[in-house]
């Protein structure tokens, strides 16, 4: 021991394995989000589409019992990849996802910047990578609850209600599509949210940006499309790009007649740009100008 005259005793217990050094960051992020006013109510509201789709699956297996309600219009109750694609790419769900980001994501980095908390984190055994993983995991937690979890529950309940594995053997790749699309949409929105959260110290300003960029990307793409009549302007819309990729992953026709990989490129480019900005913005010391 290099210190002489040492009169204090260190804690001599065993350190727990730090395999997930980002977990404390995620834990506090989730806790603080649930503390936000109206969030619990709002979050429950975002699960309504999942409930409706689940009821749809149940009804599809009991069409005879519900004939009086259907009046012959039962096509939409065909539980197939289109049914899943409709759930995952419907505008309402995407809108609710963005609203969840407003609640849970706006302050993720912005609050740390406002509270000068980065220097406290980085004076501890926490790497920048762990910090960002911890923050992204907060978004993964909330978005998986409205994407991945319902997707898997739909498949499980379809099998349970049907009482056989025919659905699984008809579409064995569907569970992979559900996982792939959920991971893609969540990863993209994690980068998108952390990027915007890192460029401001005010969570309200960031919340407006998260909402505004998503909405205005859609509005501007529609305006440009109307002016120039080129479908390629749909690449400006976050929603359209996600819908394009979603359609491909669920083996459906793409909504816009443009190559789907252009949309994937746009999404990947945004993620790369976000990673670059985060690398520069997230550091333990303020830059003197």
């Amino acid at each position: 021991m290099t210190i002489k005259e040492r009169g204090y005793t260190h804690w001599d217990g065993e350190l727990q394995d730090g395999r997930f050094p980002w977990w404390p960051i995620t834990r506090i992020g989730i806790k603080l989000t649930f503390k936000r006013r109206f969030f619990k109510f709002f979050f429950a509201f975002t699960l309504i589409p999942a409930l409706v789709w689940l009821v749809g699956i149940y009804v599809s297996e009991r069409l005879e019992d519900f004939k009086f309600m259907m009046e012959g219009e039962t096509d939409f109750l065909n539980v197939n990849p289109l049914y899943f694609k409709t759930y995952f790419t419907n505008e309402f769900l995407l809108f609710m996802v963005v609203m969840i980001l407003v609640f849970c994501g706006a302050g993720l980095i912005a609050d740390d910047l406002r509270h000068n908390a980065l220097q406290l984190y980085f004076a501890r055994p926490l790497k920048k990578r762990d910090y960002l993983t911890g923050k992204a995991a907060v978004i993964f937690f909330f978005l998986f609850i409205v994407t991945l979890v319902p997707g898997i529950v739909f498949i499980l309940f379809k099998l349970i209600f049907a009482g056989n594995l025919q659905f699984f053997f008809s579409y064995p790749w569907l569970i992979l599509s559900v996982i792939a699309y959920s991971v893609l949409i969540t990863t993209f929105f994690a980068f998108y949210t952390l990027l915007l959260s890192s460029i401001g110290k005010n969570r309200r300003y960031v919340a407006i940006l998260i909402f505004g960029v998503y909405i205005f990307s859609d509005i501007f793409s529609a305006i440009f499309y109307e002016i120039f009549r080129s479908r390629y302007f749909y690449l400006l819309s976050i929603k359209s790009n996600l819908q394009q990729i979603g359609a491909v992953l669920f083996d459906q026709k793409t909504p816009w007649n443009i190559p789907w990989y252009y949309s994937l490129l746009v999404i990947v480019a945004i993620c790369v740009f976000a990673a670059y900005v985060l690398k520069r913005k997230v550091r333990g010391v303020e830059i003197i100008k």
Partner: protein, 308 residues
């Protein structure tokens, strides 16, 4: 005694702005004061030795091991930043336990350590109050608590007495001295000389990113003593007081500020001057309104030393 912290040719730039230049020094156990005016490079130095930023040139080692990117080393260091770094909506207890979780300690140990740290800084009774309801002194003490909670061997405190009332200052100073008694290494930065003086006599003077002097505080004190000081006195009869002052050889100059109605006295021995002052007031029945020392700040001392 073996040095706990060693820096070798440490330099840091922020773009074109020089943060720290060619700093080579060794810090031993005990309290070391880092003294320098605002913008001198104190915080940059502290952030370099805590491994938060990387130096452009040079190296820092703690107990013989490099600190940059050496995360196990971070457990040995407790850092108390200058600015407030709180989530206002959290309670003091939540703030402390959430930071302790980053050390991957068992939950029971986290709670024990948080309780102990809050007890040391005398915040146990307020631990379940939201931080937004804390006073300035309580916030400062909570900041100190987060830096000592994980039982570090090296404690680095950036301006820990900023904005504290005399009672709060006394509490923090007492705490720092207690930690010194346990054989730990404590580094305290400040731009106020008497604050550092109250804690230690080992100081490092830093100015414009360079180490200006390092060693015993008495050396710098002697330099300051020979530095002519101006003292401003607002009283009922400044002319009579001036008459009494000019008899003493440690008074170099007297002057009057007619607008403010004050007497300005220049002295090269502050201790003798202030020793004489009360007696002169009492003997001559002079009523005093205000005594200030316009140039009694660290910047003035540095300007004087650099000029010298």
């Amino acid at each position: 005694m073996t040095a706990v912290i060693q820096t070798q040719n440490l330099s840091k730039w922020y773009g074109n702005v020089l943060g720290l230049s060619d700093v080579t020094l060794e810090i031993e156990p005990g309290i070391t004061g880092i003294l320098g005016p605002n913008g001198a490079g104190k915080s940059t130095f502290l952030k370099l030795i805590t491994g938060q930023i990387k130096s452009n040139i040079g190296s820092v080692s703690i107990m013989g091991q490099p600190v940059w990117n050496n995360f196990p080393q971070f457990s040995k260091i407790g850092f108390c930043p200058e600015q407030d770094s709180f989530y206002e909506e959290m309670t003091g207890w939540q703030f402390l336990t959430s930071l302790l979780r980053l050390f991957h300690l068992p939950v029971a140990e986290i709670e024990k350590k948080a309780d102990k740290a809050l007890d040391i800084v005398e915040l146990t009774d307020d631990k379940h109050r939201a931080i937004r309801a804390y006073s300035r002194g309580m916030r400062q003490r909570l900041k100190v608590a987060q830096s000592i909670a994980h039982d570090p061997q090296i404690i680095i405190l950036d301006e820990p007495l900023n904005g504290l009332d005399p009672l709060g200052r006394r509490k923090i100073i007492r705490l720092i001295k207690e930690y010194k008694g346990e054989g730990r290494t404590i580094i305290v930065s400040s731009h106020v000389l008497p604050e550092i003086e109250a804690m230690t006599n080992q100081i490092i003077l830093i100015h414009q990113g360079k180490i200006f002097a390092q060693g015993d505080i008495h050396y710098i004190r002697d330099l300051i003593e020979s530095h002519p000081h101006i003292i401003s006195i607002k009283c009922s009869d400044p002319r009579q007081l001036a008459q009494k002052f000019i008899r003493h050889d440690f008074v170099l100059k007297v002057n009057f500020d007619l607008k403010k109605g004050t007497l300005l006295v220049e002295t090269n021995n502050r201790d003798k001057f202030f020793g004489l002052l009360p007696a002169l007031f009492v003997e001559n029945k002079i009523e005093v309104e205000e005594i200030t020392s316009p140039d009694d700040n660290l910047q003035a001392v540095f300007d004087y030393l650099i000029g010298k």
